[in-house]
Symmetry: D2
Subunit: 328 residues, 4 copies
């Protein structure tokens, strides 16, 4: 490859997710492999504005592939949403000799990258890092697989105590706009019911389902609820509603929260991060810009950033059906 790219900047932005460090490592080592410099940008776009930079060589990313979080830290930057902020950021990059940018984050981060690219014609490449799996153009975002495992392990523990006491648990998992985590962990943890933003089960049907579950001989029940479920009640309201209408149930609530974002990444997320980092850097060296690298049909593939931001990965209706059958 011949290219006028001499130095690539890399940053993480938005909510952190397991696999971000593995992606940073991959970007850094792929740069080294192609004899290009790599500049770590701390605290996302805010650090880009402030020039919070550090040169990263292949040994500076030793022993991070298995670490959760992001060594580059992340932050939301209001300043970068302004024209002046982006101007400062561009000056910082130019001053540091950076020719292209790899942005690891979610759709908010990609929007920033796209605007920046459109204003300064600055080469940008996105790597999808978020546990929510809500980005178009990739079957898996970095951290999603790890979060699924974290959630089913926790629900397995809750199941222990639920079945020891014949209780009903509402377990709230992340996913404000997308039910991927809820649907997959609900199936994986053997939940009796799953409430997601994409589908309005309705309170009536929930009650019926819980009644049926009890009659079928199940001694305990787990209902997995996505943050943004359509029913329009949060888990505490759901608890009250069910206790009022099904007094035979002893109901408890568990909100899993931020633990879902942390933890050592799964093997899948580590390998995916390694693949996407290679592809992101080599695509830049190939003269490409304004794309997201993702996984489609098990192959690394490019999707225009614009599509990645606007598109939407729909819930697989086959999975909804599997879920229904499993609660027989």
């Amino acid at each position: 490859m011949t290219s006028n790219i001499k130095k690539i900047g890399v940053l993480t932005s938005g909510g952190d997710s397991p696999g971000m460090n593995a992606a940073i490592r991959s970007v850094v080592r792929t740069c080294a492999f192609h004899n290009i410099e790599c500049l770590g940008i701390y605290r996302g776009y805010q650090g880009m504005i402030e020039g919070d930079f550090k040169e990263l060589g292949p040994r500076s990313v030793n022993n991070i592939i298995n670490k959760g979080g992001t060594i580059l830290k992340s932050a939301r930057s209001k300043e970068f949403m302004t024209v002046e902020g982006r101007k400062k950021a561009h000056e910082s990059l130019v001053k540091a000799g950076v020719n292209a940018l790899v942005v690891i984050g979610g759709d908010g981060s990609f929007t920033g990258a796209e605007v920046f690219n459109s204003e300064y014609n600055f080469p940008v490449m996105g790597i999808p890092g978020t546990i929510d799996n809500d980005i178009f153009g990739t079957s898996h975002t970095l951290g999603y697989d790890t979060a699924l495992n974290t959630v089913v392990e926790v629900i397995d523990k809750i199941r222990d105590t639920a079945s020891s006491h014949n209780r009903l648990f509402f377990v709230e998992v992340m996913g404000r706009d997308a039910g991927h985590i809820a649907l997959n962990t609900g199936i994986g943890a053997g939940a009796e019911e799953i409430l997601i933003p994409e589908e309005d089960l309705g309170l009536e049907r929930l009650l019926e389902s819980l009644k049926r579950s009890k009659e079928s001989g199940k001694s305990s029940s787990i209902v997995v609820v996505a943050e943004g479920d359509k029913i329009g009640k949060n888990v505490f309201e759901l608890k009250d509603y069910v206790e009022e209408n099904l007094p035979e149930y002893d109901v408890r609530v568990s909100v899993l929260g931020h633990m879902q974002r942390g933890g050592s990444p799964s093997c899948f997320d580590r390998v995916l991060a390694s693949r996407l980092g290679v592809k992101a850097v080599e695509s830049i060296l190939d003269g490409k810009s304004n794309f997201m690298v993702g996984l489609l049909n098990d192959k690394v593939a490019l999707t225009p950033l614009e599509q990645a931001i606007k598109g939407h990965t729909a819930i697989d209706t086959e999975l909804l059906r599997v879920s229904d059958i499993m609660t027989t």
Copy 2:
């Protein structure tokens, strides 16, 4: 040993905890070892009243030593708190030929056992099973060690995301009356501050400590809070209070909840359960009654049930000091 005990009943009662199954297994196999029958009593004292029994032989407890929860299930029984309820329970036991009882549970369960013993002179022996470690006469209750590991593993994950975003997290752990879990996991997870029922830190000092922590160069903070902390605010109120007074902090809350009760027991809890089960059965065969078996100075030891109920294991002041020094 010669004894007129022919059949021992075993039950789990109160909140479940990891290691209860290992203790059931040990009671069952120790009975078999001494050629005594063992009767499993389901759903605690309620199942005792209702005669919800099952004979347990050594093979019926195969492959449960590593399982959380309790195969005998647990329940709270209001009926057993009445004279009539205990009368029915006694009749059930007599009818089933049971000569003595092993009760695995916390102090509420032990109180029931003691009253039952006083009314019917029925041999009872207690095994402390609760994650809270709040029972006098044992350095460790069954499930406590496992819960400590569960909690630090979760806080490790929260730390990943906290330090990626320079955030402050309030993490609420179990312990309504006792701060053992909070104090030990706070030290173990490297928390910046620990709030427990036994000690009133005061809101002022909490703010000062958080300020100092930030000034010392720490980029993120974890505060572990026991459910029953003395400050008299729950974690959500604490969040509001700190955000108002220390606006530089981005504060989040995580309530760990029931997951702390579940999970495969640690090796320590499995071994402890095995030891206590042997001692409980052999003490009964030795003619003893109305004791709790526990661990004192690493040795299995008996404590009168009455003392176990009324006593209180104080927080170790050395640990409080270690906690202070570690947050230097």
Copy 3:
């Protein structure tokens, strides 16, 4: 669906893998959903011959989705390799009223199913269950994803001690004919070198690579070796060879062995198992036979058993490249 299928038999055969129980559960519950009976066949084809059967209803598979191993047990049957053995097996099935068979296992198990089908025109459907991921017609076999996580978690631990002592470790992982586990866990664990059956690195290049790794400033090294690596030396011989030629290295060996087959399945394996179970049963009800259900491009798909047995999922050359770049 209308179909003359009234009862489906299900068995597990060959080496067990995590997710087999989840697949059994799915087959059983999908049968119940379609009002069909389901017969559990113990110990694979041998139990089929001996009539070692048990009716399975939806409640008999409660709480197994998260368990490793197989509740139906597995075995290799020499008798089933004979015409007489298969005749007995067929008689057993007919006597029990079984109309179709779901076989969960690897290619040896599928070969048995295919022969049985060809002799008796008995409807069979395969579900790929093996950690080796060496079956054509599916991107993932059941248990493969779990095994990858098990292996990287163990290598993470070995890395702790390796880097504390500046040591070189040869870690042998499963995969007699296929290097999928070695290649993916090698990348995931950040191994300095990966030896697989599909590629002959050569001893010379291994030595050079290790030398280069040391010179680049790495203080410890992990080499992941598939059982059937091409170099033709086992890990102990490799250790001797390297210590002779690179005396500066303190070399250790770790053979991971059977632990790789066990453990609670990952969320991915649980969901995959649920999906494949549904598809297997519904394909039978649809009149199909002699297929394997698998995952292709993230969709459940059918592949003729014959192809599944004879085909071969090649190592992805992109991954080999990623592996090379990551060891920069």
Copy 4:
């Protein structure tokens, strides 16, 4: 406390164990708490000789409490076994202004410390760090509790596959001279037999036990073997012996190896390390030398190094009995 100690050196030596980092962190922060400097000594005694030092402040040990291995690395030093080596080491320390030494390691490391102290009257304090729990003067060495959990988790996985195939597994665990790991994990994992260096079961009795186990209806068996077991056969020879004499058994072997030394420390080990680090530093400031800090009857306590080295923590005969009863 008033003391002429201005700077304390800390090193890790011998085999690494989980909790060493937590102990380093505790030593560093306790020094800071008392306004004393702390010097990290890399690669044990060898780094002491070579002056491989780094000043450690409270922030330099952030986020290591949960990491396996040792950030100070460990090494065995032949040079330190010589008079000249120790002379160089002493000169290095004096030159660096170090007034006292905390040595984290096993009995080999303590022997070095004691000799060094006797030659130069240099204040030394030992912290027991080894997974083997073979040091007198402490009920628990750092890393022992973590190793127990690591081992039972692995045997749980092996049990999955063992019971799916009705197999017998010999699992070799660490412990050349001491059977603590084998005995506790054997009980914890529900092993059918446990072979330890302290007790000669005899091959005859092993065969009888295995026969009885099979007859009692157990479908699979796990035998946990300490490296240094008395029977005088390694696990591979045991396999051959049993297969010859009990052909009904399908026998497999698993050698757990170095993974037992790694991994994130358990909560217990993290708290213990924190306590021992405080005590070690404060004992030095108190004018004490040539002691090991340990845990006795759940309290931190000092034992003369000489005794710690020569003494021996015997296997608890109560545990042997529990083990026998559990295999009923």
